[in-house]
């Protein structure tokens, strides 16, 4: 477990560095001032949501082909973490909209698409809670994970088209002209959040494995004790 500890420290360090770059190193935006700094966390969270849901899709396909519980545990772990990141993406997007456009919510394509994404994967978690049998739960949630992921590009495209036929009340707050220090802060945030995603994923998988082992032990114990009677 030594490398896990080392990796945890690496993640900690990279998050610290990206915090420094986002808050102290990068200059404030000309138009939006200090509030623009939320952008680094917003982009990194949204990117990780997409990454997590891609992993869910891959794990779902792999589960349906291989039928080993490890793939289902990966799908579950990635769904949960993805929901956390996409929630952060939507919330930071909303806060940013408040300061950039003056409203808490704007039906802007990317923000709206993220929200629909959030909706689909929260639904996937709801679905998981409503099936008792582990094999059936894994199978049904894999199917929904595939259906949801296939829908993602269609959602993005349709919302983009839909937005283009409606007059835009608030224009996306002045095209961001990113200066080199800003680009560096953005790249650092994305990398450190991705590392954080990997760390959380590993931790969640360890917990799932322990849960599965515990369930096995309990089952064996029940079988043995019921045999005695």
């Amino acid at each position: 477990m030594r490398w896990r500890t080392a990796f945890t420290w690496l993640v900690f360090l990279s998050v610290e560095i990206s915090l420094f770059l986002a808050f102290l190193y990068a200059p404030p935006d000309v138009v939006l001032g200090e509030t623009q700094r939320i952008f680094y966390f917003h982009v990194a969270s949204a990117w990780n949501g997409l990454l997590a849901f891609t992993v869910v899709f891959v794990a779902a396909v792999a589960y349906l082909m291989k039928r080993t519980p490890e793939w289902d545990r990966l799908a579950l772990a990635s769904t949960e973490i993805g929901v956390v990141f996409i929630t952060m993406g939507v919330v930071t997007g909303s806060i940013w909209a408040r300061f950039a456009w003056g409203v808490w919510w704007e039906w802007e394509p990317r923000l709206t698409s993220s929200f629909v994404l959030w909706l689909m994967y929260v639904t996937l978690l709801v679905l998981r809670n409503l099936v008792e049998d582990p094999d059936r739960r894994a199978r049904l949630s894999a199917v929904f994970g595939i259906v949801a992921f296939v829908d993602v590009p269609v959602v993005f495209m349709s919302i983009r088209w839909w937005r283009s036929v409606h007059p835009v009340v608030v224009e996306a707050g002045g095209k961001l002209n990113l200066e080199p220090p800003m680009v560096l802060a953005l790249v650092a945030s994305v990398i450190s959040f991705t590392l954080l995603y990997l760390l959380l994923l590993m931790e969640r998988l360890t917990i799932s494995k322990l849960e599965a082992d515990l369930a096995d032990i309990k089952r064996t114990w029940k079988e043995r004790t019921s045999g005695v009677e």
Partner: protein, 231 residues
């Protein structure tokens, strides 16, 4: 399609479709509630929205599709409930044909019921909510058919999925609506364009999107449906 030595695939689809129609004609379990609900919905829209002197025309495309999908869930949610209650899913799966015949048979029967429903509910909404029908008939029918097909494709698949959960068919709208968002956008925009609300030249684009959505989700459903039917 169809394993070696299997009975034909299409005969199975038509047998299942015929079974659905006959069962519905005897029990009236899903079409009658949908039809009655369609009348109820128009009444509710009337009382809830039609204030004196206010035209519903600008929001009418949204109203038609929201009501159609909500009414549709009532019937489509029952696609597999009967099979589960009578324990006949195992029988359907014992047929030595590719199990996708079950999906296609159910999809076609759902499409038939939904089309019959819309033939009543859509004109009814135009008439009772006082919105003049100004759209060219053929493209309008095309939008209705494509919007309904997308709904039925996703609804039939997820209805099978919801049946196997603890919540049962109640879960269907929860599962299906997020996935259906592109279909709702496409159907509402195409209808709006045809009714002269917004850009009148937009509808071919949205019809194309709806068609692509339908093809995509029928294809995906055919691939994954078998995994739902295992239990």
């Amino acid at each position: 399609m169809g394993a070696a030595g299997a009975v034909g695939w299409w005969p199975q689809v038509s047998a299942l479709l015929w079974k659905e129609l006959r069962s519905e004609s005897r029990t009236h379990d899903s079409f009658t509630p949908m039809l009655v609900f369609a009348f109820t919905v128009v009444t509710v829209f009337g009382f809830g929205l039609k204030l004196a002197g206010v035209s519903l025309r600008p929001v009418f495309p949204g109203l038609i599709w929201i009501s159609t999908y909500f009414i549709g869930f009532l019937g489509i949610g029952r696609s597999f409930a009967g099979e589960k209650a009578q324990d006949t899913l195992a029988g359907l799966r014992l047929v030595p044909a590719d199990p996708s015949y079950i999906y296609v048979g159910k999809l076609l029967s759902n499409l038939l019921f939904l089309s019959a429903l819309e033939a009543v509910s859509i004109p009814l909404q135009f008439a009772l909510l006082g919105v003049e029908f100004t759209a060219p008939l053929l493209p309008f029918a095309g939008v209705v058919i494509l919007g309904t097909t997308g709904f039925a494709a996703v609804g039939t698949l997820l209805s099978g999925l919801a049946t196997h959960t603890r919540a049962g068919e109640i879960l269907l709208p929860v599962l299906a609506f997020p996935v259906l968002i592109p279909a709702i956008i496409g159907a509402v925009q195409a209808t709006a364009s045809l009714l002269g609300l917004g850009n009148a030249l937009d509808w071919p684009k949205w019809i194309g999107m709806l068609a692509a959505y339908d093809v995509l989700f029928v294809a995906v459903s055919l691939v994954v449906f078998d995994f739902i039917m295992e239990s």
